[in-house]
Every structure is written in C-alpha cells, then in structure tokens.
Symmetry: C2
C-alpha cells in the first residue's frame, strides 16, 4: 500500500467534514462520501476535489482501501452491520466511546481512528496538534492507521479501549462539564443584565494558567481558601435557582476538601 | 488633581505585584509599598523605580493621593481600621467580595478598584483588556478611580456592590469550578498513567468555541445527547472514586435537563 490512501468516508457530519479536508490536504484521495441524505453528502463533496456521493452502504465495488465510519455514536453498529466492502479493505470508526468489537463482529480488518477534538462545521481546526488515538485488531491495520494519522497530525497514539474510555471520561469533565460551568456563569450574569463578555479575559487567563502550571497549582477562590463566610453568602444568593445552589454546594465542598 | 496620581499600595501579594507595575507603566508614581513583612515590600519595590517600603499603617505623612488596599480578603477590614492617611486621601480596595462599607466605616473618600482577573506573581498580564470594576461613595472619588483605571485598561466599568457579587459568583463557576473540572480530569488520567497533556488541544478548542459561539451553543457530549448507555458506563467506571461519581451524576443530570 502506498503512503497515500484511498479513503471512503461514511458520514457527512462534523467529524467527516473536517477529516475529509485534512486527508485531502495531506495527499490522500477521498473516493466516496456516504450519507443517508444524499444532499448532506453532496454538500461535503463540494468542498473536496473529485469525490463521489452515495446513500448506499454496499461499497463492495469501491476503489477505497480504508472505510472510515464517522457517524453518530448510536448509529455506528447499525452502519457497521450493513456496510459491504471489498476483501482486504479496512473498516475503522472515529468514536471515542464505541467499541472495536462493533466493527470486528462484521468485518475482518478493523480499527479505531479517534481524533480527540471537538469539531463544528465552519470552525476550522489545526490538525497538527490534535491527538489521534489508534487501536486495531491486526498489526498491519494498526500501521496503516498510524500512517494515515501521522499524515495529518504530529500526535498519534496507540490507545487501547480501556484507556480510550478513561480519556473520554476525563474529556467529559474537562470539556463538557467545564463548558457547562461557563453556561451557568452566563445564565447568572444575564439574569442580572450583565454581559458574559466581562468574564472573557478571566476565563482565558484561567485556562492558560491551568495549562501552564497545572490546574491544581493554579486554583484560587473562596472554596480553596476555605472562606465559609463568602461560600455561605453565595449559597444564600443562589436560592433563586436551587439547581445552581446544589452544584455550587457540591463543588465548593469537594474543592475545599481537596485543598485542606 | 493631575492625571498622574501618587499611589500608595497596601499589600505586596499577587494583585499589588501586578497593579504597581501597571500604574508605573502608565505614568503614575508609587510612593510606598506597605507589607507586614518588610522583606515582601522590598521584593516588590525592587521591580519599581523609586518607591519607599514600610511596615507601618500610619501613612498620615504620605505624599500619596490614593491608598490602594490589596491584601487578602479577610485582612481588608483590619487593615482599613488601622490605616491612617492625610485628609482628602482616597482609600480603595481591590477585592471582588469585600464591601465598600469596610472602608467607609473608617475613612471619608472611599471606593473599590476591582480588577477582574486572576493574578500570579511571575506570570505577566496584559492589562488593556482586564475589566476594572469601580464603585465609590462620592462622585469625585469615582472620577479619580475611573481615570486611574482608564490609564491601565480599556475596560473600566461602574459596578455596584450587588452586581460585583453577581460577577464574583459567576467567576467562581466559570473559573474556580471550571478549573476544578480540569483538576479532576487530570486526576482521572494520571490514575491511569495517561498524560494530562493529551487533553490540551481539546480544552483550548472548547474554550475558544464557548467564547466564540457561546457555551450553550458549543455544548457537546453524552449528557447533552441524553445518551444514557454512555452515562451509566461512565458512572460504573467512576465507582473507584465516589466523589467524582457524585459530581458526574449531578452535572450530567443538570446538563441533560438543560438541553432536553
């Protein structure tokens, strides 16, 4: 197999949208884009050089060497079970949560190609620093996926399913829950007619500091100091929104205990 | 009063450290640095041009026009009560949480000069974008503090004590709790011998997206999707650390309800 691969992409969502372009930019060929909705496949194909679109999962005549399933988590198994590919083709999925077994139940050469990043159509991503987590049943498949990953990113890792789960749970805390803390902050400010933008420099600096010296070292605030007067004042204030109060109480207690 | 002020800084901690330099860079004069520990005051004074150090709060002979109290929150009132200044001097503090009354109980011309940022000695801060929240008893004092703030930052706001509290509570969620989510992520990864650095590109992109399109619009993940299979798998995994499990449960439930 050459260093440039022929890749069929199953899916036309956020991940497919970004990976297809990144692969082309690194010299690979996107042979097909599959989507249940041909219009979505066409929309993505328009951004590429010379790519067919299809709404059929019978790809047994495809020239592709790698079939990358980039659909929503709960559709992965269904798509895997229906997908027909030529012999020796590799089937990989891009999910942080789905097992490798969902693929190997139906296919011979299977792997995982999980880019650890949050993707949104229309917001460009610098792939060079995006960690690509690779797992594969066969060593030869693993090598192909490493070559593919290494062509778009400098950070390609061999990560087994157990560690992938650990990374995903950590990402839920750092990113989903961290982002939810920003949402709650925005709610509280807007409830009092204050623009969320006033927190922007503080948020940027907090994250910079956490990534420079580590989040534990960077922590500040009343809970870390164990300042019960302020904590009680804040809880009293939050009575108007019991859910926020409950979250404030649990997190400040945990924070306080972590640093005492 | 001229546009360049003579400022005495009471305190030699993180906030004093950064403000003193920022004031000098904008043409003001730092007349004195006070610290209980003369050595701390000397350490800061060494970074300035021509500044006296003192461990006495009797500043009644000081040439300063503004006396800025930048000590830890719980020392603010004690320092305010002992501070002696010349007539017509302005006393202001830099705390996000302490009241104006702690000053006006002991002094005539009082105000608040609260820079909404997290400061660490040795990590430089670009002040131009740091919001400075001003409050004062008298209009003339407010004008002086606005002029002082406007000389170091483009973002100077008149913020009353009630709104200052709202901003502080929002900052606790966005920054202290947001940072704590990063700490927990780091703990989970290191418990399994995975380097926290693997999450860095994802964390940076998550915050960029939140600040670009807003955190509610930017939210992703299993809780937002209401993917109970994944949520239960994660809770099962977190059994080894009941505190993390409790936090995961509360936040994912709240997140799920917020988007359903």
């Amino acid at each position: 197999m050459s260093k440039f691969f022929k890749v069929a992409i199953i899916g036309a969502g956020n991940v497919a949208w970004h990976l297809a372009r990144a692969f082309e930019n690194s010299g690979h060929f996107i042979t097909e884009i599959y989507s249940r909705h041909l219009s979505s496949a066409r929309e993505l194909a328009k951004r590429l050089y010379d790519t067919n679109v299809t709404d059929s999962l019978d790809m047994s005549e495809s020239p592709a060497e790698i079939f990358l399933i980039a659909v929503s988590d709960n559709a992965t198994e269904h798509v895997s079970s229906l997908l027909k590919i030529p012999p020796y083709g590799i089937v990989a999925h891009t999910s942080g949560t789905q097992s490798l077994e969902l693929l190997s139940r139906y296919h011979d050469n299977t792997g995982i190609f999980y880019p650890l990043q949050t993707f949104t159509k229309g917001i460009s991503v610098g792939f060079k620093e995006v960690p690509i987590c690779i797992e594969a049943v066969h060593k030869s498949t693993q090598e192909v996926l490493f070559t593919l990953g290494g062509s778009i990113s400098d950070e390609v890792y061999s990560i087994n399913s157990e560690d992938r789960k650990v990374i995903h749970i950590a990402a839920v805390f750092a990113c989903n829950f961290g982002n939810h803390m920003l949402s709650i902050a925005q709610d509280i400010l807007e409830e009092h007619d204050i623009d969320f933008g006033i927190l922007q420099p503080l948020i940027v600096e907090t994250v910079n500091k956490a990534l420079t010296v580590g989040p534990a070292e960077a922590q500040t605030g009343p809970a870390k100091r164990g300042d019960d007067t302020i904590l009680n004042e804040h809880l009293k204030f939050l009575k108007y929104e019991p859910a926020f109060k409950k979250i404030y109480k649990l997190l400040s207690e945990h924070l306080k205990n972590s640093y005492s």
